[in-house]
């Protein structure tokens, strides 16, 4: 009877978790996103040189070629990170027998996208107004909030990544002009560290 009660409680818990949380996010996809971000940051540094750290030289940015390079670079990072993320998450879901597109993954995506979309809008306006220095702290902050919101629908560990991004975003606000550096830490280093921790915790 005792054993039965304990088992029932455990089963209820696991079923409830499986019905609310999408647990197939792969750690490897975090590592790939991080490496892509670092490569993108390196490319930007190679192209802009020291100028990118110099907030005073915003005039330099007014040339269309610079904007174009910047956007292409960001787009390339996004595509590599997304396709890597999708590939490894689908693979993990398959091996766990979890469906990739069900109510849990839908809920995760919706809750991730809302703060992310607002952040994207916010940054587009900042960029348009010429407040380039604020882009990095704002992207890190909104990304952190998006992760925090999504953490309720996936592995709890995402919470730690969210809080790290938020702290980094708040710190970056005081160091306008060092956006690339904070980006590399937030989207590069943190993703790699988090991805490795997840990989060794859940997939090894």
């Amino acid at each position: 009877m005792n054993q039965q009660a304990l088992e029932d409680l455990k089963e209820i818990r696991s079923i409830m978790d499986r019905s609310t949380r999408f647990i197939s996010l792969s750690g490897i996809s975090g590592v790939i996103a991080g490496v892509a971000a670092l490569a993108g940051a390196a490319a930007a540094y190679w192209y802009f040189q020291e100028v990118i750290f110099n907030y005073e030289s915003v005039d330099y940015w007014n040339q269309e070629a610079q904007y174009r390079f910047f956007l292409l670079d960001a787009l390339a990072v996004l595509i590599v990170a997304l396709s890597g993320g999708i590939f490894f998450t689908v693979r993990k879901a398959k091996s766990q027998g979890q469906k990739i597109w069900d109510s849990t993954s839908r809920r995760l995506l919706i809750n991730l996208s809302i703060p992310l979309a607002v952040g994207g809008y916010f940054c587009a306006v900042l960029l348009y107004m010429g407040f380039i220095g604020f882009i990095a702290p704002v992207t890190l902050t909104f990304y952190g909030l998006a992760l925090l919101n999504a953490s309720k629908y996936t592995l709890d560990d995402i919470r730690y990544l969210a809080i790290s991004e938020l702290i980094l975003g708040m710190v970056a606000l005081w160091f306008i002009g060092y956006g690339l550096l904070f980006w590399s830490i937030g989207f590069g280093v943190l993703h790699i560290v988090y991805g490795l921790v997840m990989y060794f915790k859940y997939e090894k």
């Binding site: 009877m1 005792n2 009660a5 304990l6 029932d8 409680l9 089963e11 209820i12 079923i15 409830m16 499986r18 019905s19 609310t20 469906k99 069900d102 109510s103």
Partner: protein, 99 residues
């Protein structure tokens, strides 16, 4: 002991029913296929558990059509929620008393 048995809900004696209720406690409407995917039961088995829960009005049923295919969805009722919570409490209490 007798007090615990009192709250021990007969409707939840079966593991499959407990599992169905667990899913419904954390989702809104869920359709037949959702249970099938998650619980690994045969159609007939699942249907009989669902109708047993419906009979004691722990769940409600909604029938609709997706295109031409009939689609049946289920949702936990207020009575069902209360009963499930009580059942959980008595499970926990029972374990506590056992030490």
């Amino acid at each position: 002991m007798s007090e615990i048995i009192q709250h021990w809900d007969k409707a939840f004696e079966n593991k499959a029913r407990l599992a169905i209720m667990s899913i419904l406690m954390v989702t809104d409407w869920a359709d037949f296929n959702r249970f099938k995917e998650q619980l690994d039961l045969t159609d007939g088995n699942l249907a009989s558990h669902l109708s047993a829960l419906e009979k004691v009005s722990y769940i409600e049923v909604r029938k609709s059509f997706i295109g031409k295919k009939p689609n049946t969805s289920y949702r936990v009722t207020a009575t069902g929620k209360k009963a499930f919570k009580q059942h959980l409490q008595s499970l926990e209490k029972f374990l506590r008393n056992q030490g």
